[in-house]
């Protein structure tokens, strides 16, 4: 969800004024980096029109910055000649585009049916205990964000989870400490 920010708080001011504030804001805010722009340009070259590359652009920026801030939304919108609302409508639709800051490592724990039957609940409880966070939260040291995820497609090795790009299958409660340790 788009967090209340300076722009949104200006609801009652007139549109032109808000736009002016927005554009001044933009200049102050981060723009896309050279690396991001080059990667986005490549994606744009593969599609019939700029807008069609917006998901790729979000992926590219998130890869560099870990999450998509309001300023990143504005920068992408500007670059692809779209409205910020349009970019945000796409960004907020997909669960793996993060519109809030996430920790250094993102844990995706499968909560779908095969893992449910095989006891993902116990894994979740153990993770809550060890990290002191619940689904949707980030540890105080900014190291881990814990998120539920739909079926990871390895139901014959349930319960399953991913940490960043690494898949863990047949996860047992007593292995968690060791697994988490390797990401510290």
């Amino acid at each position: 969800m788009r967090e209340p920010n300076f722009i949104l708080e200006q609801k009652h001011s007139d549109h032109a004024e808000a736009m002016e504030i927005r554009s001044t804001n933009m200049e102050k805010k981060e723009l896309l980096t050279e690396i991001e722009m080059r990667a986005i340009d490549h994606e744009v070259s593969l599609v019939p029109y700029k807008k069609a590359a917006v998901i790729e652009a979000l992926k590219i920026v998130q890869k560099q910055r870990r999450w998509i801030s309001d300023a990143s939304i504005d920068a992408i919108a500007n670059y692809l000649e779209m409205s910020a609302a349009e970019v945000d409508s796409v960004a907020t639709f997909y669960n793996l585009i993060f519109r809030k800051p996430v920790g250094k490592h993102v844990i995706l724990l499968c909560d779908s049916i095969s893992c449910y039957v095989m006891g993902y609940g116990k894994i979740y409880q153990a993770l809550q205990r060890q990290l002191n966070i619940q689904f949707g939260q980030t540890t105080k040291d900014d190291l881990f964000t814990l998120l539920p995820n739909v079926c990871l497609g390895c139901c014959d090795h349930a319960p399953a989870m991913m940490i960043d790009e690494d898949l863990f299958e047949d996860v047992k409660e007593d292995q968690l400490e060791k697994i988490l340790e390797t990401y510290k």
Partner: protein, 424 residues
């Protein structure tokens, strides 16, 4: 027993281009490009009786036949591989993607040729990181070998191929939602007609086929329709990747004749139930299929037989519900999933599924009433087929309506005892 799709797959290994060629790979493509017009390939596949392995089970050849093939057909035409495997309990395409990527690529190139496509995409879910790496390399190897790109095998036909990895959301597996996702939009399904065959990606003729479906194509071309039919143990053609997950001795996925019985798959291949557990229910083909029970174990796992028993073959990957798992908790988990994954376009789905989830949670916590059962029954009608643009809500209702039928006693017990009787 022949297992054409998996015979060259060794667990944990990926067949390289060279190994695939040595095993007879890309021979079907060479044969077809030399001898057959695209329409002839369509006819071969139609004759083979191949049905889509993604869940819907529609004839692949007939699906293709709606693509405009005349001189003034609009280009570019697109061929898309749906590798967005996200149906809960489904893990069959992963094996094909990771184990034998060129079999899929050859299938895709054959399908693209059959509809005279110019551009093809592999739409792969984000979570399949290893498959993404493998597909990336395989596509580049296929380009280098002249199976992709300009003037393929000297025939003058061009085909580009790209890998697209998603950013989540189950609904991307719905073929028109997938098209919107590829176009950089919210993955909301589209109203049909027009069908993608006529107006698909960027409004151009498009075919979307499942991974397993596409992997069948080289074998059909090499060995013929009669052979493909002979692989099956039922009216349907070919083999099927069947999977079993849940509390069984050996969960896994196996390629077997289409129409192998549920009993054989669960008891022989999966080794039967784990010690101390009894089978209470089976979702035969993913989260959006109706429950079957012990009485159905001897049915053949083919499209018609599973339908006659009141369910669907779906993806062919079974989820077993054991007798220690609460059916209400089980169905609540499913409805939580569907409510969360609804794209929000159609009102019955957007509003109905969270309601269903809430009712089930109340029942599970012992706070339900008999009225709740009626409410759930009502939802199975209002969210059933014909009220929404896509099959997400009707699919969600399948396990619910059959749970109300087969596990009614459990619902009643939760209401009467004011608690979940499965809680230890």
């Amino acid at each position: 027993m022949e297992q054409p799709l998996t015979k060259n797959i060794i667990t944990g290994k990926t067949l390289s281009l060279k190994e695939y060629e040595q095993a007879g790979g890309y021979a079907a493509l060479r044969k077809v490009l030399k001898n057959n017009a695209p329409q002839e390939v369509q006819q071969m596949v139609k004759d083979s009786g191949l049905k889509g392995r993604g869940g819907a089970g529609f004839s692949t050849g007939i699906k293709w036949s709606f693509v405009p093939m005349d001189e003034d057909a609009r280009h570019p035409k697109y061929l898309i591989c749906n590798a967005d495997e996200m149906e809960p309990g489904t893990f069959k395409d992963r094996l094909l993607l990771e184990g034998n990527p060129h079999q899929l690529l050859e299938g895709m190139i054959l399908a693209a040729y059959a509809i005279k496509a110019d551009i093809s995409y592999v739409f792969l879910r984000w979570a399949y990181r290893k498959a993404a790496e493998i597909m990336e390399k395989s596509i580049s190897d296929a380009y280098a070998a002249g199976y992709l790109g300009k003037n393929i095998l000297g025939t003058g036909w061009n085909l580009e191929m790209y890998l697209h990895t998603g950013v989540g959301r189950y609904i991307c597996g719905e073929e028109t939602a997938l098209l919107n996702a590829l176009e950089g939009k919210r993955a909301t399904p589209r109203a049909k007609p027009p069908f993608p065959q006529v107006s698909g990606l960027y409004g151009k003729p498009t075919i979307v086929n499942n991974v397993e479906t596409l992997c069948c194509l080289p074998h059909i071309i090499n060995n013929g329709a009669a052979w493909f039919k002979s692989l099956s143990a039922s009216e349907d053609s070919g083999t099927k990747l069947y999977g079993v997950s849940g509390k069984v001795k050996r969960p896994g996925v196996w390629e077997l004749p289409l129409g192998t019985t549920m009993r054989e798959i669960i008891e022989e291949y999966a080794g039967g139930m784990a010690n101390g557990y009894r089978l209470k229910g089976v979702l035969p083909g993913g989260a959006s299929t109706d429950f079957l029970t012990e009485q159905h174990l001897d049915i053949k796992m083919d499209y018609a037989s599973v339908a006659a028993a009141g369910s669907r073959l779906g993806t062919g990957t079974m989820i077993i519900m054991d007798d220690a798992t609460c059916p209400i908790g089980f169905v609540h988990n499913l409805q939580h999933f569907f409510a969360q994954e609804s794209c929000g376009w159609c009102t019955p789905c957007r509003e109905g599924l969270p309601w269903v989830e809430k009712i089930l949670l109340g029942l599970e916590k012992g706070k339900g009433s008999t009225e709740d059962i009626e409410l759930l029954q009502m939802h199975t009608q209002y969210l059933g087929p014909g009220n929404t643009y896509c099959a997400l809500a009707p699919g969600a209702m399948e396990p619910l309506q059959s749970a109300l039928k087969y596990f009614k006693d459990d619902f009643v017990e939760h209401i009467e005892k004011h608690k979940c009787p499965y809680e230890v």
